[in-house]
């Protein structure tokens, strides 16, 4: 049972109060028609399978109902950060898997 901190509500609550949303920072292509089937399938289906810190989305589904992002170590389940949608991750891309 993970302990998750909603960056809007500010408190830590059990995982059962939240809904998982998969990998974060996947942008919907602005012009889908410009993409080949392969590229569209990549956006639609392909996700990274990270060992280490992974950026993912969570929804505060039993609280404020807002989506937010988190960085979770997929080996230890340790959360390094929780941040709001639209905010930049606290740890730059180059360091994502070094912690």
């Amino acid at each position: 049972m993970l302990l998750i901190t909603c960056p809007y509500c500010g408190d830590s609550r059990d995982e059962s109060d939240f809904t998982y949303g998969g990998e974060a920072h996947i942008k919907r292509p602005l012009d889908p028609d410009a993409l080949t089937d392969q590229e569209w399938a990549d956006y639609l289906f392909m996700r990274t399978n990270t060992k280490g810190y992974f950026r993912e989305m969570w929804n505060c589904s039993s609280g404020c109902r807002r989506w937010f992002n988190a960085e979770r170590n997929t080996v230890t389940n340790h959360f390094r950060s929780f941040y709001r949608i639209g905010e930049q991750p606290p740890v730059p891309d180059t360091e994502v898997n070094n912690g």
């Binding site: 302990l3 919907r28 089937d37 989305m57 080996v75």
Partner: protein
């Protein structure tokens, strides 16, 4: 039967004798006994038969590591199978039985298998019972029967189980010396502490220790420490409380057996067990260590126990497990057992595999003073005794450690106390994600770095001396409390006077006169009859990974999860592979540490009203009064059909269907998902989330909307009305409301945060009453005088606001039946009042309440889909023939995916209607469709039935199906081979069976009148 109770001592209360039965035999123990100690005191040797060879087995341990004494406790509905007798507190009137052995443990007919043990080696079941595969159920039946393992209760458990949430600064699992010391240091700082222990008394090793602490007995020190802890308001002490799992972020499950020890006399409805769900800032693991067995030939005879168990039975329970004992060891710790036996009046011989005996000279001196013979550099090579060990064969071990030399010496004994060293109980540390490090000097795995805020202390941390355990506990308790923000210090460490040493020279497989394959069985895992030879066999057959060997040999598979023998098995594997133990590695420990009952897992959420929330509409009591049958949709209880006296479902549904088409029906549609959408970008948002066009919908009008996943597959549908320029009322499927709201929020919040639009769930705010049928307009007109119901003023797919019975309502002219139909929405509290008004006004017109089943039949007659029934997440709007709901004017979620190669291929499964050639044959929903059932199996399947009913209005059955390339196969005959061997033939047709021109839902005023 021998009385093995010592005349004095122990922590039992001799003034409180307890009567109990074991396999029908009446026996007596005392309060403070475990079932195991009471059985030993009564001289019971055999408590079970082994799993595979049905060898007689006795009690080996004194705690969670016990592999043999798995007994059925209690009777009737309260009985629990496979409880370890070593952990069951004795109570008055206890009924205990062994779980395997037929006809009895004393004489087991299956024991003949033991003579064939060479034929029953590792993988025997895999190798023997593979062929023919069809016979497996038969084999399984006999294997299960011969394996045993208890019986289930004969009725529902009459007791209650509960869950309890708790938070603390420091949770300490295990109340032995280190755990109690940690609790003292943390508790003194004011930190909130929970200290739990699986035994009935806190104290662990202190309860059977002969050491002196601060000049007094260990028991005396324990009493003082517990008294101090009890005085601390922030400290919670839990006995009979097993920490069974350490999960993410310091979430620990603790099973508290509150009333199991009270037995069958327990009043029905009492809370029997309670699961504590604890979230701790810091967890201190203090579960101690397990003593390992030694792996020598015939090491499983009753009367062969671990040394520490022997000491525990003598010191804590005042039971002398044997009169003539041999202590067989590879380390210093079991010298104390020899002294305990000597003190209890047993004769003792010490067989020490190390060539120079004990490392601590003081131990040798003490043994000499007591006249205990020490055979250093010797090992037990074999044992004998049918129902109990009566003789051991001892030989000298060669320097290479692989052979035995010299003359064998036979020693007649009735007890072997063995010690292969100690293994910290790293289970909880492993659950929490921590790795374990091999310590060569201590010859055991010790907890490595932790993934969480947790620390192992004392024996659990590979620290085996009592003084060091107390010190380690105090320091760890203080550190943990400090990290939680308390001012804590380790403080004064008590002085301990005891002769302590844990020096060890590992001996994983005791050599014998023959090779491991030819020698008698030397057991590693007693519960699963896994021998050393099974592990060497697995290696010969090519197994290398410890996880594979585990599964092939069943090593560590039993209920005790390898607590006694796993490390021995892994070490023997490493030895056989010529690798080191760290290289070979360990298997993974997973929760639960010891078995948890199903009742405790379920808690109160079992059956009845607490199992799942129930949602009912404002008109629910009316439906009940009309004897409606209910269908559960999501969590909603919806009227399914309303049978009249003597009607079955079929007749009731036929009557309801006819009533709607002929006169007028009324449906409680309140459960439909409703979402209020407001904001300047509301229309644009709908245009992106729905596949059809929304920008030009006029205020006051409604439109059917189709929602796709980004993969292009249909995910929900419903009618949405434009209440104002920037205001929409969306409806969703009953089961899809929460999902759709979440879906829209996801897009709004993560992808289009610049859009100005807001969603509010209003499902529970509105009661919805659907009135359908040719008389529906007449009924509405008689109810409501401030709405003009004429076609011109109130056309199909529009809505109006007005009042009924003085209450403000929204009336939508929409139809899910194909009939002229109105859906009245009113603030939920007034639902019953409007329903009553409709019911009253409809009486002259034969108004009939109808349920979901009739709704399904009527919509199927019209070919309207139900998302989730006629679609399954792999169906596009094109597959459904709903190209009209796909706009070209703008992008929408899922559009690009519909252009993917797989979405435009020709033989996708497409929605069609089916008319059975026999008009009365109703196809089962889910039936597979084929072109030619006579083809050899597997017959190519071309589709399946999604909806199927008998239509009373049409006089024949109707069905909808998804069929490969179905849209271009109109008129073809396809076949549904059914499970009973019959084949139903059907013609592919349009899914619209009734009123294909939609004349009924928008008739002129004249036609309706």
């Amino acid at each position: 039967m021998v009385d093995r109770r010592l005349p004095g001592g122990g922590r039992i209360d001799r003034s409180k004798p307890l009567r109990f039965t074991f396999n029908g035999k009446e026996l007596t123990g005392y309060e403070g006994d475990t079932l195991a100690s009471a059985l030993l005191a009564n001289g019971v040797n055999i408590v079970g038969r082994s799993f595979k060879y049905h060898r007689p087995r006795g009690i080996v341990g004194a705690g969670a590591e016990e592999p043999n004494a798995l007994l059925q406790i209690g009777t009737g509905a309260s009985t629990i199978p496979n409880l370890r007798a070593t952990q069951v507190e004795l109570y008055e009137g206890m009924v205990a039985r062994n779980v395997n052995g037929w006809p009895s443990v004393e004489f087991d007919a299956m024991a003949v298998l033991g003579f064939f043990s060479r034929a029953l080696a590792a993988g025997f079941y895999y190798k023997t019972f593979m062929w023919p595969a069809s016979k497996w159920p038969l084999y399984e039946h006999f294997i299960r029967k011969s394996a045993g393992w208890g019986v289930v209760p004969d009725g529902p458990d009459p007791h209650h189980y509960e869950h309890h949430n708790a938070h603390c600064d420091v949770l300490i699992t295990g109340a032995g010396p280190a755990g109690i010391a940690a609790a003292l240091a943390a508790g003194r700082s004011g930190a909130r502490v929970i200290l739990c222990d699986e035994q009935n008394e806190l104290g662990g090793q202190l309860l059977s220790s002969t050491a002196q602490i601060d000049g007094k007995s260990a028991a005396h020190w324990l009493q003082g420490a517990l008294a101090e802890l009890e005085e601390m308001p922030e400290v919670t002490l839990l006995s009979r409380a097993t920490a069974f799992g350490h999960y993410d972020h310091n979430f620990v499950g603790i099973l508290v057996r509150e009333a199991d020890h009270l037995g069958d006399s327990l009043e029905h409805g009492t809370i029997r067990e309670r699961v504590w769900r604890v979230r701790a800032k810091h967890v201190i693991h203090a579960q101690g260590a397990f003593e390992r067995a030694l792996v020598f030939c015939n090491n499983d005879r009753p009367g062969i126990m671990t040394a520490s168990a022997v000491s525990t039975y003598i010191n804590r329970y005042a039971v002398k497990p044997g009169d003539t004992a041999v202590v067989f060891t590879n380390n210093d710790s079991s010298y104390q057992t020899a002294f305990d036996l000597h003190a209890a009046g047993s004769s003792v011989v010490l067989v020490d595999s190390r060539s120079s005996g004990a490392e601590l000279g003081e131990l040798t001196d003490t043994a000499n003073q007591k006249g205990i013979e020490i055979l250093a550099g010797h090992v037990i090579v074999d044992t004998s005794g049918r129902k109990r060990v009566n003789r051991v064969k001892v030989m000298q071990m060669a320097e290479n450690g692989k052979d035995v030399i010299g003359h064998a010496r036979m020693i007649d004994i009735d007890l072997v106390a063995m010690s292969g060293g100690w293994s910290p109980a790293v289970h909880l540390h492993s659950h929490s994600g921590g790795k374990n490090d091999w310590d060569d000097a201590k010859a055991c795995f010790v907890p490595g770095a932790s993934n969480q805020n947790s620390t192992a202390v004392g024996a659990n941390n590979g620290i085996f001396g009592l003084a060091e355990c107390l010190q380690d506990g105090l320091a760890a308790g203080a550190k943990a409390a400090s990290e939680c923000g308390f001012k804590a210090e380790a403080g004064y460490s008590p002085t301990v006077s005891a002769v302590e040493s844990s020096a060890i020279t590992p001996l994983w497989r005791v050599p014998s006169e023959q090779s491991v394959e030819r020698a008698p069985k030397a057991f590693v895992d007693f519960q699963n009859d896994t021998g050393a030879s099974d592990i060497t066999l697995a290696v010969r057959e090519g197994y290398r990974s410890v996880e594979h060997v585990k599964r092939y040999t069943a090593l560590g598979f039993g209920t005790e999860q390898g607590k006694l023998g796993n490390i021995n098995g892994m070490a023997i594997l490493a030895e056989t592979l010529g690798a080191s133990i760290p290289e070979t590695g360990t298997t993974t420990f997973r929760p639960a540490y010891t078995p948890v009952t199903f009742g405790a897992g379920a808690g109160r959420e079992i059956g009845g009203k607490l199992f799942e929330p129930v949602r009912t509409t404002a008109m629910h009591t009316w439906h009940e009064a009309q004897h409606a049958k209910f269908e559960i949709v999501g969590q909603w209880h919806r009227p399914w059909y309303y049978p009249k006296p003597g009607e079955d479902m079929h007749r009731a549904v036929n009557r309801e269907c006819r009533a709607v088409r002929d006169h007028c029906g009324v449906l409680d549609a309140s459960t439909l998902g409703k979402i209020d959408i407001q904001g300047p970008d509301a229309a644009e948002f709908l245009n992106r989330i729905y596949s059809n066009a929304w920008l030009k919908l006029k205020v006051g009008y409604c439109r059917y909307g189709l929602m796709l996943g980004e993969d292009g597959m249909v995910m929900d549908d419903g009618v949405t009305a434009r209440l104002g320029e920037n205001h929409f009322h969306m409806t969703t499927t009953t089961g899809g409301a929460a999902r759709v709201l979440g879906w829209m929020e996801l897009w709004l919040q993560t992808e289009w945060p610049e859009m100005q639009v807001h969603f509010t769930s209003t499902t529970d705010h509105w009661s919805t009453i659907a009135v359908a049928g040719p008389k529906s307009r007449t009924v509405l007109e008689s109810l409501c005088d401030d709405i003009d119901f004429s076609d011109d003023a109130f056309p199909f797919m529009t809505f109006r606001e007005g009042t009924i019975a003085g209450l403000p309502v929204r009336v939508f002219r929409i139809s899910f039946t194909g009939e002229m139909s109105y859906e009245i929405n009113v603030q939920a509290n007034y639902g019953q009042a409007i329903w009553d008004a409709v019911w009253e006004a409809g009486q002259p017109h034969g108004i009939t309440p109808y349920g979901t089943e009739t709704m399904h039949v009527l919509r199927a007659e019209k070919g309207f889909i139900i998302v989730g029934q006629d679609t399954d997440g792999s169906v596009t709007p094109v597959d459904l023939g709903m190209q009209w709901a796909m706009k070209d004017s703008a992008d929408y979620i899922g559009r690009r995916s519909l252009l993917r190669t797989d979405c435009v291929r020709e033989n996708r499964k497409q929605l069609v209607g089916l008319r059975t050639l026999n008009p009365n044959a109703v196809l089962p929903e889910g039936a597979q469709l084929v072109d030619d059932p006579s083809l050899p199996t597997p017959v190519p399947m071309i589709g399946h039935v999604t909806s199927s009913y008998f239509s009373a209005n049409l006089g024949h059955s109707i069905a909808m199906a998804l069929v490969k390339g179905g849209h271009s196969r109109m008129g073809d005959i396809i076949k549904a081979p059914l499970a009973d061997g019959t084949v139903v033939e059907a013609e592919i047709c349009s899914p619209i069976f009734f009123d294909p021109k939609n004349e009924r839902q928008k008739p002129t005023l004249e036609k309706a009148a």
